[in-house]
C-alpha cells in the first residue's frame, strides 16, 4: 500500500516541478515568473528529501527560496515597468512546445539509458573508510571540510569574487523599503534576529553528526540577515568604512587558507589535518565558513557597495 502512495507522491512532485519551471520561464509577467521560480526552489527542497539528501534540502530551502528570492524581487523592483508586464513570446511558445517535447523526450531517453548502463561504484566505500579519521560523523561534512576541503576553499573564493564583481559595478542598487509599511515589520525583525542566530548555531553544531553544517547554517544566517535588513534593521557597519566589510567578507577564505597552509608547517601536505585534532579543525573552519557564507550572501543581496549611511534620507 505504501509503495503506490510514494510513487504517486513522486509523480505529483515531478509534474509540479516541471510546471513551475515552465511557468518560471514562460509565464506572462516577470513577477509571476519570479514567484514561480521561488516555489520551484521550495519544492526542490522536498525533492532533495525524497532523494535522501537532507543536507542539500536544508541549503536549498534557505537559498533557493530565501536568498535568491530576495535578490530576484529586489531586482524586479528596480526594473522599468514596461519590462515587467511584457508577455512572454507567443511565437516562441508554439515552436517551443514541439521542439522542446522532442528534445526532452530524446534527451531523457538517452540520458536514462546511458546513466543506467554505466557502472555506479561511487565513492561511498572510500568515504566510509576514511570517516573515522575525519573528525566528524556526518559524511557530507567530512567531504566538505576535510576530504575535499579544497573545493570549499575555492567555493568561498568564488563567492568573494562575486561580491567583488558586484561592488565594482557601483553602489547598492536598491534600498530597504523607504517607509515602514506596517508597525509589525520592525518588531518581526527584532523578534526573528535572535531566532536566526539560534537556529543557525544549532544547524552548524548538528552538522558534525547529522544533516546540517556550515553551508545550511551560513545560508540560513544570510537569509535571516537579508530578511531582518528588509524589515528595517540597519547593520552596524556602513559603507563609510569598508575595512570591516573586507575583513568579514574574506574571513572564511583567510581561515581556510591559514588552516591549509598552517598544517604544512608541521610537515604535512595541503589540508592534511592532524588526525586527533581534525574535529577541532573542522569545527573552527565551519564557524568561519558559515559566518563568511552568511555575510557574503548578505552582501550579494545588497546589490552593490553598501551606502555611507543606511537609509538616512528615509528616516522620518
Amino acid at each position: 500500500m505504501m509503495a503506490w502512495a510514494i510513487t504517486a507522491f513522486d509523480a505529483l512532485l515531478v509534474a509540479l516541478l516541471l510546471w513551475l519551471a515552465w511557468q518560471a520561464i514562460h509565464a506572462d509577467g516577470l513577477f509571476r515568473a519570479v514567484i514561480s521560480f521561488m516555489v520551484f526552489g521550495l519544492l526542490m527542497a522536498v525533492a532533495w528529501v525524497r532523494l535522501d539528501a537532507p543536507d542539500v534540502a536544508l541549503a536549498e530551502a534557505a537559498i533557493g527560496a530565501g536568498v535568491t528570492g530576495a535578490l530576484l524581487l529586489s531586482a524586479l523592483g528596480r526594473l522599468p515597468e514596461r519590462d515587467k508586464e511584457a508577455p512572454a513570446d507567443r511565437r516562441a511558445r508554439g515552436l517551443a512546445a514541439v521542439g522542446l517535447a522532442a528534445l526532452a523526450l530524446g534527451g531523457a531517453t538517452a540520458l536514462a539509458t546511458i546513466a543506467w548502463a554505466l557502472p555506479a561504484p561511487g565513492l561511498g566505500r572510500e568515504v566510509t573508510e576514511a570517516l573515522p579519521k575525519s573528525g566528524v560523523d556526518n559524511p557530507v561534512t567530512a567531504v566538505l571540510l576535510n576530504i575535499r576541503a579544497f573545493d570549499t576553499l575555492l567555493e568561498i573564493g568564488v563567492l568573494l569574487l562575486a561580491v567583488i564583481a558586484t561592488w565594482a559595478l557601483g553602489p547598492m542598487q536598491w534600498s530597504a523599503p523607504a517607509r515602514v509599511m506596517s508597525p509589525a515589520l520592525p518588531v518581526l525583525g527584532r523578534l526573528l534576529f535572535p531566532m536566526f542566530v539560534l537556529v543557525s548555531a544549532y544547524v552548524l553544531w548538528r552538522g558534525g553528526h547529522a544533516p546540517g553544517g556550515a553551508f545550511p547554517a551560513g545560508a540560513l544566517m544570510g537569509a535571516g540577515g537579508v530578511l531582518v535588513f528588509f524589515a528595517g534593521a540597519k547593520p552596524w557597519i556602513t559603507g563609510a568604512e569598508l575595512d570591516p566589510w573586507r575583513w568579514l567578507l574574506s574571513l572564511g577564505l583567510v581561515a581556510m587558507l591559514v588552516a591549509a597552509v598552517g598544517v604544512g608547517a608541521t610537515g604535512r601536505s595541503f589540508f592534511e589535518y592532524p588526525v586527533d585534532l581534525a574535529g577541532l579543525f573542522i569545527l573552527a573552519l565551519e564557524v568561519a565558513a558559515a559566518l563568511s557564507i552568511a555575510i557574503l550572501l548578505f552582501a550579494l543581496c545588497l546589490g552593490g557597495r553598501p551606502p555611507h549611511r543606511w537609509g538616512s534620507e528615509d528616516e522620518a
Binding site: 509599511m181 506596517s182 515589520l185
Partner: protein, 99 residues
Amino acid sequence: MTALAWVGASLVALGVPFFLLGTLGLLRFPDVFTRLHALAKADNVGLGLVCFGLGLHSGSLAHALKLALIWLLMVIASAVGAGLVARAAIARGVKPWGV
C-alpha cells in the same frame, strides 16, 4: 500503532480540510482581502493541527517542541505577511469587495 499515534494521525487528517478550503478560498474569493482571510485559516488552524498531530505521532517531546516552534513562527510570519499584503493593497488603492 499506539493510541497516541492514532490520535496524532487523526489530528493531521483533521488539519487537511483546512488547507483544502484555504486553497479553495485563495482561488475563488473575489479580492485580495478575502483571499488573505481564507489563507489565514490554512496557516493558523490547518498547520496547527498538522503540527500538533505530528508532535503526538512522533512520541518525542523534543520533536513535538520543534514542531510547536515551527507553528509559532509560521503564525507570526503569516500574520505579518498578511498585514503587509493588505496594507500594500490599500496603498495602491484596491477597494475591498462589496464596499
